[in-house]
Amino acid sequence: MAAVLSIIAVILLAGALFFVTQKIPDEPPPPPKPPSTCTGTEVTVEGIKSLQKCQVEDLLRAVENSKPRQFTTTAMCYSVGMEEYAPVSYVCPICGSRTQHDGGTAKRIKENLYDIRKSFYQLYQGSPLKLDLDESSLCSKCSKGTNGPQEKGQYLTIYYADGTIFTKMIDNARELDALRGLLEEREWVRDKNNEAIFIRDKTYDLRKFLDLPKTGEKN
């Protein structure tokens, strides 16, 4: 009896050690490329090398049609405390000027500015979609005299091959991480907290984010 208990204890201990020591796996390699349904004639605006909207649609459709996979993840709760935000300095990377912000913009700068830059950099490298990140609305000097956006923040611009240009303010880096996952045709990617973003679960958000029609809607 004691021997059986010892064996059970060893198995349990080994199991526990496995969970303690197991590393978060690397992001998976892209699966084989699905056949393209993008049959439209390629229209490229001179000087812009980018994906067509329908090619991005292809990527989304492939993910939406894939089988859901069961993952076990540990739930993590964050307690978000709102506090009075002191003025926050934004130092422009282009002109070096310093602009003081408060309120929601200060909060965004403090919490997301560097994360968004980092995620954009990862996304931008080798992206088949032509992209741009514009922070000039945060710099009072660079935005002076321009018809910049009302809301101050970091704006992602997407240049589709057909000449469509779409601009959107980025709220957090996860949106960019998800887009990277889609463009790299991965099943999931890691965000800054090492948590997995499953692209299949994000297609609705990605459609909104990319200004593409929801599933079932027509262009």
Binding site: P87, S89, V91, G96, Y114, S140, K152, K192
Partner: protein, 356 residues
């Protein structure tokens, strides 16, 4: 509405008034005290030059000045310069009733001293110009070992006199492997003597402190011990304090401490900068990189070394992928630079793998 600052400079200027000092602190990070002479001294600025710089800095939006050195009180003209600064007008920016507002007022003034030359007359003159006073207390029994000078008695006495004079004071404690055993007593002594706040600094190699750094450098468990002690003392005293030199977040969770503020982000070039005794701009007092002379201050704005700090392009590769990277600079970047040879070298407390 956002407000375009008057210049690219952060709102606090640390003015190193002189290279000279009347202490020989083993832990001193002033770069010109490095034994190998890596940071040569040039001729010091004159009274008129300092006054001119202070006036220009006020025009550029600087709202606080910290006078330090070396030992700033060794300059005979220090109070002449302080009086000039006190009558300048500086733009202050603050959030009031949910809106950013500016107002003009006297700049905030601070004197950072080792305390040796502080007398009741000094205190009266500081009070006259509403200067806040910070004095060093690197241990009690180990005071002489650390400073090469006297005992802690005079500094403790002056904290009491400063309180009586109505001055706000900060007790600066540099924590080393040699004085951590008496940290509780040191912090308590400073507060009991009359200091309003505690500012702790972990010893970081630099300047004179490059010699014999190993016997002073604290490790990770000592850092935790130091913060726990400070929290306990401050809780008992009902006071607050802060850790002046940022630490890697993987070594100290700021949320754990209620009384001591633990910084994990470098504020060099973002919240303060330094002008050295001969007028050269540096990102912080630890830095041994002279950028440009104040006469060419506009060149600093897009200087690659400066923008490395303003854009935080210095995170060690060892911290890449860390979940805390957005709120942590991997410790003191300049100390890491001095020790490791590169601005993105790991801190003397290397990253803890659990966060990677």
């Amino acid at each position: 509405m956002p407000i375009l600052a008057r210049s690219f400079l952060p709102s606090t200027a640390v003015l190193e008034m002189t290279y000279r000092c009347n202490h020989e602190c083993r832990f001193c990070s002033c770069p010109w005290f490095a034994a190998d002479g890596r940071f040569p001294c040039h001729s010091e600025l004159t009274t008129a030059q300092w006054k001119n710089i202070i006036a220009k800095l006020c025009d550029m939006g600087i709202a606080s000045f910290a006078f330090t050195g070396g030992e700033a009180l060794l300059r005979d003209d220090l109070f002449d310069i302080i009086a000039h600064a006190a009558q300048c007008r500086a733009e202050h920016i603050e959030t009031k009733e949910g809106e950013l507002r500016t107002y003009m007022g006297a700049p905030g003034l601070y004197l950072i001293s080792n305390g040796k030359l502080v007398t009741e007359e000094t205190l009266a003159r500081l009070k006259e110009h509403e200067v806040n006073l910070a004095m060093s207390l690197p241990g009690l029994d180990t005071f002489k070992w650390h400073t090469g000078s006297d005992t802690a008695d005079h500094v403790l006495k002056m904290f009491g006199k400063a309180k009586a004079a109505g001055l706000r004071t900060v007790c600066n404690v540099t924590v080393t492997r040699k004085n951590i055993h008496e940290l509780y007593e040191t912090l308590a002594a400073g507060l009991i003597a009359g200091a309003d706040q505690i500012l702790m600094n972990r010893f970081l190699p630099g300047g004179r402190g490059l010699t014999g750094a190993e016997e002073m450098m604290i490790d990770g468990p000592m850092l935790t011990q130091m913060l726990d002690i400070a929290e306990e003392v401050l809780t008992k005293a009902g006071r607050f304090g802060s850790l002046g030199t940022e630490v890697p977040r993987c070594w100290a969770d700021p949320a754990k401490y209620k009384r001591i503020t633990v910084g994990t982000r470098c504020s060099a070039a973002l919240e303060f900068f330094v002008i050295d005794p001969s007028g050269f701009v540096r990102v912080c007092n630890h830095s041994q990189v002279r950028l440009h002379h104040f006469d060419e201050i506009e060149k600093v704005k897009l200087d690659p070394y400066w923008t490395t700090f303003t854009q935080r392009r210095y995170l060690p590769k060892e911290c890449g992928g860390c979940r805390d990277a957005a709120d942590c600079d991997g410790g003191c970047r300049e100390a890491a630079h001095i020790v490791g040879g590169k601005i993105d070298s790991p801190d003397t407390l290397p990253p803890v793998p659990r966060n990677l």
